[in-house]
Amino acid sequence: MFNFIARRLLQIPVVLFVLSLIIMGLMQLLSPQQRAAAFVTSDKQIENLDLIIEKYHLDEGFIVQYKLWAKEVLHGNLGFSRISKEPVLTTIRKRLPASTELALAAFVPIVLVGIWLGTIAATHRDGLIDQTLRVVAIIGWSLPTFVVAIWLVAWVYGGLGWFGIGRLPNNLLIELASGDFHRYTGMYTIDGLLNGRLDITYEALKRLVLPATALVIVVSAGIMRVMRSSMLDELGKDYVRTARAKGLPEKAVIYKHARRNALIPVITMAGPMLGRMIGGIVVIELIFNFPGLGEWAAKAALQLDVTTLLAFVMLIGLIMAVANLLVDIAYVIVDPRIRYE
C-alpha cells in the first residue's frame, strides 16, 4: 500500500509535466507579446514588453522557451495576474481557501444526499418513491448550473431575503482587514471558531448555504443514479439472500451488507463528479459574487488574461491528480479485498 502511494505520488509531477507541455504548446499559438505577459511581475514592466521578449527569448523555438518557463515556475514565479493586479501565487494563496471552503461545504451534502436517495430508490424499486426520485433526478440532471444559481439568488436571496451572497458582509470584511483577527486556514468558518468569533463563523456559514445548495442540486443526481443501479445489483446477489435467510433484519441486510458493496461504483464516479463540481464552482462563484479561484479564472478568461488561466489550469491538474490518488485509497478502505501491488 505504501509502495503504491509513493509510486502514485511520484506520478503526479509526470502528469503535471505533460500538462505543462500541452499548455506551452497551446501558448505557441499566441503572439510573443501576449506570452511575455506571463513573465511580467509588476505594473512597470508592462511598458517594457520588448525587453522581456528579448530577455526570455520569447521569439525563439519551443524547447528554449519551455526550459525558461519551467525554470521560472520551479522558482515559484507563476507570473503576474492582470485581473487581480498581483503575482499569481499571492492570489492563489488568498483565494484557494475560499474555494476549498465552498467545495467542502458542498461535497458532504452532495455525497450524503446522493447515497441516501439512491439507497431509498433501490429499496423501493419501481414503487412510487422510486419513480418520483427518478423524475427528480432527470430534472436535476437537466438543470444547468447557472440557471439554478440565478434562481436561488433571485428567489431565496432577492425575494425572501434569506442567507446572503459574497463571503462575508462588508463591515466584517473591513474589520478583519484592520483588526487582529488571525487567519489560520483562510476559511472564515474555521478561523472564526479558532479566533473565538462565532459571529464570523455564523455569517460565513450563512453565505455558504445557497452556493452549496446549487451544487447539491446539480451534482447529486448523478451519484443517486449510480448508487441506485449498483445497489440493485448488490441486492440481487446470493450473499444478500443468505443474509436474509439467516433471519437478519432487513435494515442490517441493506445498510451493513448491500450498501457497503454498492459504494464501490460510486467511488469510481468521484473523479468525473469532481470535474463537474469544479466546473459548477466557477459559474456559481461568479453568480454568487464569491471571491474564490473560479471567479478569478472566469474573469481571467473573459479578459484574456493568459497568465492567470495557465496557473489555474496547472492548479486544477494538481488537484485532480491528488483527488484521483485519494479515490484509489478510498477503494481500499471500502473494499479490503482490493490490493495495490
Binding site: V15, V18, I23, L26, M27, L29, L30, R134, V135, I138, I139, W141, S142, L143, P144, T145, F146, V147, I150, W151, V153, A154, W155, Y157, G158, G159, G161, G271, P272, L274, G275, R276, I278, G279, V282, V283, L286, I287, A297, A298, A300, A301, L302, L304, D305, V306, L309, F312, V313, I316, G317, M320, N324
Partner: protein, 342 residues
C-alpha cells in the same frame, strides 16, 4: 448452397424488445413529444417570428438578405407557396439569428402585444431570441455530437483494434481528458482563439470524445470475444476484414444511440459558456446568452422586488431546461431499454 440463404431472418427494429420497452415508458413519450415541439418551433421559426420581423425596424438586415420588403413579410413568411418561405425556413441568412432591437433602452419592458414575451435590456425581443435560439440549440448540439462521436469512434476503434501498448496509451490519455473539467478546457481555448460560438463548439469537440472512445473500445473488446468473430477468424478472414465486417458493425449500434442522446447535455453546457460570455455574442439568438441579460436585473429594480423583470430570465431558462429535459427523458428511457438486466 447460396450463402445468402443462410442469413437468419432479422426482426425489424420496431418489433424488437428494446423498442417495445422504450415505447411503454411514459417518460419516453413525454420526452419525445417535448422534442417534437422543439423541432416544430425550430422549423417554423421564420413563420412564428414574422410579426416581429415586420414590426421592428432593426430586423432590416435579415429581410434584406431574404430579399423581401417589410410590407411583404406576413404574406411571404407564412405562405408555404412562396419561395421566400422555404428559403427562410431551410437556409435563413446568418443575419436573421441576430435578435432585432426595438430601441436601446437599458431597462427591460414587460410583455405587450408587440412583444409577447417582453423585451430584455438593450431592446432585444425575448420571443424572437427564444424561437431562433431553438435553431441555434439544435445546430450546436448536433454538430458537436457529430464531431466528438467521429473522433471517439476513430480513437476508440484504434485502441480496441490494435490493443497492447497503443490501447494502454490511448486509455491513459482518455482518463486525463475525462477527469479534467470541461469548462477549464473551454476557457483556455476561448482565450487563445477568442470567444465565440465556434470556439465553444471547437473546445467541446476537442474535449468530448474521450467518453465515446472509452465506451466504443469496451464494446469492441466485448464483440471481439464473441464466437462469431472466432468463427470468421477460423475461416481465414484477415484481421482487417474481421474488424470491418464483423466487429465494427456489431459494436457501433449502442454507441450511436447513446451518443445521440447527449445532444441535450451538450446544449446545456454550451449555453453555460454563452452565459459566461465565452460563447455567442450579445444579441445573438442563443438561450444562454439571453439568460446572461438577467444578471443585470437579478435583484429587480429596487430592493426586495426581484420579480420585476421576471420575463427576461424565466422564459429562456424554461426553454433551456425543457430542452435538456426532453433529451434526458429520452436518453434515460433508451439506456433503460438497452440494459439487458431490466
Amino acid at each position: 448452397m447460396n450463402p445468402q440463404e443462410m442469413k437468419p431472418e432479422r426482426e425489424p427494429w420496431y418489433r424488437s424488445k428494446t423498442f417495445k420497452r422504450f415505447r411503454r415508458n411514459p417518460l419516453a413519450i413525454v420526452g419525445a413529444l417535448l422534442l417534437l415541439a422543439f423541432v416544430l418551433v425550430a422549423f417554423m421559426a421564420p413563420a412564428i417570428t414574422a410579426p416581429q420581423l415586420a414590426s421592428i425596424p432593426a430586423a432590416r438586415p435579415c429581410l434584406r438578405d431574404l430579399g423581401i420588403k417589410r410590407s411583404e413579410v406576413m404574406d411571404t413568411l407564412r405562405n408555404p407557396l412562396s419561395p421566400v418561405f422555404w428559403k427562410a425556413t431551410l437556409a435563413p441568412p446568418e443575419s436573421c439569428y441576430n435578435i432585432p432591437r426595438d430601441g436601446f433602452s437599458p431597462l427591460p419592458k414587460p410583455p405587450s402585444e408587440k412583444h409577447p414575451m417582453g423585451v430584455s435590456g438593450g431592446g432585444y425581443d425575448v420571443m424572437y431570441g427564444l424561437v431562433w435560439g431553438t435553431r441555434t440549440a439544435f445546430y450546436v448540439g448536433f454538430l458537436v455530437v457529430g464531431i466528438t462521436l467521429s473522433i471517439g469512434i476513430v480513437v476508440g476503434g484504434l485502441a480496441g483494434f490494435i490493443g497492447g501498448a497503443v490501447d494502454n496509451f490511448i486509455m491513459r490519455v482518455t482518463d486525463v481528458m475525462l477527469s479534467f473539467p470541461r469548462l477549464v478546457f473551454v476557457m483556455i481555448i476561448a482565450v487563445i482563439f477568442g470567444s465565440g460560438l465556434t470556439t465553444v463548439m471547437l473546445a467541446m469537440a476537442v474535449v468530448g470524445w474521450a467518453g465515446y472512445a472509452r465506451f466504443f473500445r469496451g464494446d469492441i473488446l466485448r464483440t471481439k470475444a464473441q464466437e462469431f468473430v472466432d468463427a470468421a477468424r477460423a475461416l481465414g478472414a484477415s484481421p482487417m476484414r474481421v474488424f470491418a465486417k464483423h466487429v465494427f458493425p456489431n459494436a457501433i449500434g449502442t454507441l450511436l444511440i447513446l451518443a445521440s442522446m447527449d445532444v441535450g447535455s451538450i446544449v446545456l453546457a454550451a449555453s453555460g459558456f454563452s452565459f459566461l460570455g465565452l460563447g455567442a455574442p450579445v444579441g445573438y439568438a442563443d438561450w444562454g446568452q439571453m439568460i446572461s441579460f438577467a444578471r443585470d436585473y437579478i435583484l429587480g429594480s429596487a430592493q426586495g422586488t426581484p420579480f420585476d423583470y421576471w420575463y427576461v430570465s424565466v422564459y429562456p431558462s424554461l426553454m433551456l431546461v425543457l430542452f435538456g429535459l426532453a433529451w434526458n427523458l429520452l436518453g434515460d428511457a433508451v439506456r433503460d431499454a438497452l440494459d439487458p438486466k431490466s
